[in-house]
């Protein structure tokens, strides 16, 4: 609660910083979404109704109003990536994780989603995990990434980026 208030106040509690506030609140949420309590707090602090907060949270693709998997793997499917074999990347992910696009694994660890262009078309096909973009992917790189995530060695991921 205090941490959440701190984030809101850091951005001056201003409506123009609404998206930055919501994104940051979401980033500290254990389940990666805008929880109902968080939405209520933002509404109260920014002087708006909870409905308005939800209108905004549900409008923007990066904001989530439902609980998310621990690691959300977003496969770019905009045309520059799609025609650089991002569909192959998706198949490999689905097989490796035994999960369908749009769904989460049974243990809630991984989910695979599509994302529109992340502005990394020079290294497509790419996936985005949190703020990190992984490019020039092939089967081996994907196995490494998933292996590292399973072992929770997120920092090691830096090495396989780009």
């Amino acid at each position: 609660m205090e941490q959440k208030l701190e984030i809101i106040h850091k951005h001056g509690g201003k409506k123009e910083n609404m998206l930055a506030i919501l994104l940051e609140l979401q980033s500290i949420s254990p389940e990666g979404y805008i929880e109902p309590e968080t939405a209520a707090l933002v509404a109260q602090e920014l002087g708006m109704t909870k409905t308005r907060v939800y209108e905004i949270a549900s409008y923007y693709a990066m904001l989530k109003v439902k609980p998310q998997a621990k690691y959300v793997l977003e496969v770019c499917n905009s045309s520059p990536c799609y025609f650089s074999k991002s569909d192959t990347i998706l198949h490999i992910l689905e097989q490796e994780l035994d999960v369908e696009i749009g769904k989460a694994t049974a243990d809630g660890m991984f989910a695979v989603h599509y994302t529109p262009c992340v502005g990394a078309c020079d290294i497509g096909p790419v996936i985005k995990i949190g703020d990190m973009v992984f490019g020039n992917l092939d089967e081996e790189k994907i196995r490494t990434i998933i292996g590292e995530l399973r072992a929770a060695h997120v920092s090691v991921l830096e090495e396989v980026r780009s």
Binding site: E16, S84, P116, G124
Partner: protein, 419 residues
């Protein structure tokens, strides 16, 4: 190109956020000069530069600046559109992360010229680490007296720049939707007119320009409008950052003078280097998903400039060139493009919200060989309707690429019609 203009500092700064490094490479000289110059003279230089907006709509920057300058209402706001979201475009990302002070200096000159107190830069949410770099650059600029009160000792020249984050909505790259988003409203486009130079942010006169447009302003003032124009063609001044992606050998961002032959961009070893697969060129999608598609027979001898492109019903747009070799069916490609628009339609108006879905289904039925005899004319009718009835630029441009393909590859559609 040996003499890079706008990308000359790329990769050469140890810390791109540092004012002293930017200054060591010629930075913050244009603002020094601007405060000693008649304001009308600054506008004249922008006019002479023949600088067309680098965001996508290619609106003459001089005209936009005059419009705002002549508006007697204050306060005025300066907004930088850094919501780069057109697939195949990643050049603003480079400017923001590799040379942020060039953008800040451009916004600063605008702040001075229009006597604005506040500037905003709306950076897409996906570029969060870039937002951090940019904030550090803003902090250092303030420390060095380029932002804040009485800037450079000019009494009453008070100006701040604030970063506003997007959160994943392509339509917020539309200027009026962006202003709504900055105001804390849902980022849906407004009905225009009024022009944003009359009724913009908080209903006040507002300038909205793209990242690359702002970064060009100090360049223009430093070298002079006429010399800047001469880098390009008679009517399209300067250089452009272009982004090559898809099946091209050398994917990446390049700076080229406007007026370069397209063949050199695609096949020149210094640039695209030809197709990665060695197969022939299939087609090029110009300027993002909302832009036109060009086929080889249209591209022969083409000069990459706004004017020449327009003459062939093509466009530069965001500077993206998504290059496909001939292994790709253009109809399948369009199905993917339409999938993007379904995701990004804001849902405000029906023709766009439902039209994108119906177009996607119809293109899909061609791809699957399930389209009937009447479906090609149905497709064409739908394209007309969605273009004429949608309220903003997004809906009005979803048909652009499909129309190009039907005009030049009608046989490919016809061949996919089943029984």
């Amino acid at each position: 190109m040996n003499n890079k203009i706008i990308s000359k500092r790329f990769g050469k700064l140890t810390d791109p956020a540092s004012v002293s490094e930017y200054r060591a490479m010629g930075g913050y000289t244009a603002i020094q000069q601007a405060i000693l110059t008649e304001k009308e003279h600054i506008l004249e230089e922008i006019d002479k530069a023949m600088l067309l907006g680098r965001g996508g709509a290619s609106y003459p920057m001089g005209r936009k600046w005059h419009h705002l300058y002549e508006n007697p209402r204050f306060p005025k706001y300066i907004v930088c559109n850094a919501d780069e979201g057109e697939p195949g475009t990643f050049k603003d990302k480079a400017l923001l992360s590799l040379d942020p002070h060039s953008v800040i200096e451009g916004m600063l000159i605008a702040g001075y010229l229009f006597s604005a107190d506040e500037g905003f830069i709306y950076i897409r949410g996906e570029y969060r680490t870039i937002q951090e770099t940019f904030q550090r650059a803003l902090d250092d600029a303030e420390q060095n007296g380029y932002l804040g009160q009485d800037i450079l000792g000019v009494k009453g020249f008070n100006y701040t720049i604030t970063i506003v984050s997007g959160a994943g909505a392509y339509v917020c790259g539309e200027n009026s939707a962006m202003l709504n988003s900055i105001e804390g409203l849902t980022g849906r486009p407004r009905v225009k007119p009024p022009h944003l130079a009359d009724i913009g942010l908080h209903k006040q006169p507002t300038l909205v320009n793209n990242v690359e447009s702002f970064a060009n302003v100090p360049v223009v003032l430093n070298m002079g409008g006429e010399a800047y124009r001469a880098l390009g063609t008679e009517k399209d001044g300067g250089t452009r950052l272009i982004c090559l992606s898809g099946h091209i050998k050398n994917r990446g961002m390049f700076e080229i003078p406007l007026g370069m032959p397209l063949d050199e961009i695609i096949y020149g070893e210094e640039y695209g280097g030809g197709m990665a697969s060695g197969k022939p060129l299939g087609f090029i999608h110009f300027g993002g998903q909302s832009g036109p598609i060009g086929f080889p027979e249209q591209l022969e001898g083409l000069i990459y400039s706004y004017e020449e492109m327009r003459a062939r019903s093509l466009a530069i747009g965001s500077g993206a060139l998504v290059v496909m070799d001939d292994s790709v069916s253009v109809v399948e490609y369009l199905e993917s493009v339409m999938g993007f628009f379904i995701h990004e339609s804001c849902g405000k108006c029906t023709p766009c919200r439902l039209g994108t879905t119906r177009l996607h289904e119809l293109l899909g039925s061609f791809v699957k060989g399930r389209a009937g005899q009447e479906d090609l004319s149905r497709l064409e009718n739908m394209l007309t309707h969605i273009t004429n009835l949608s309220s903003c630029g997004l809906g009005q441009s979803v048909a652009t690429s499909v129309r190009c393909a039907i005009r030049h590859r009608r046989n490919e559609f016809a061949a996919l019609i089943g029984n």
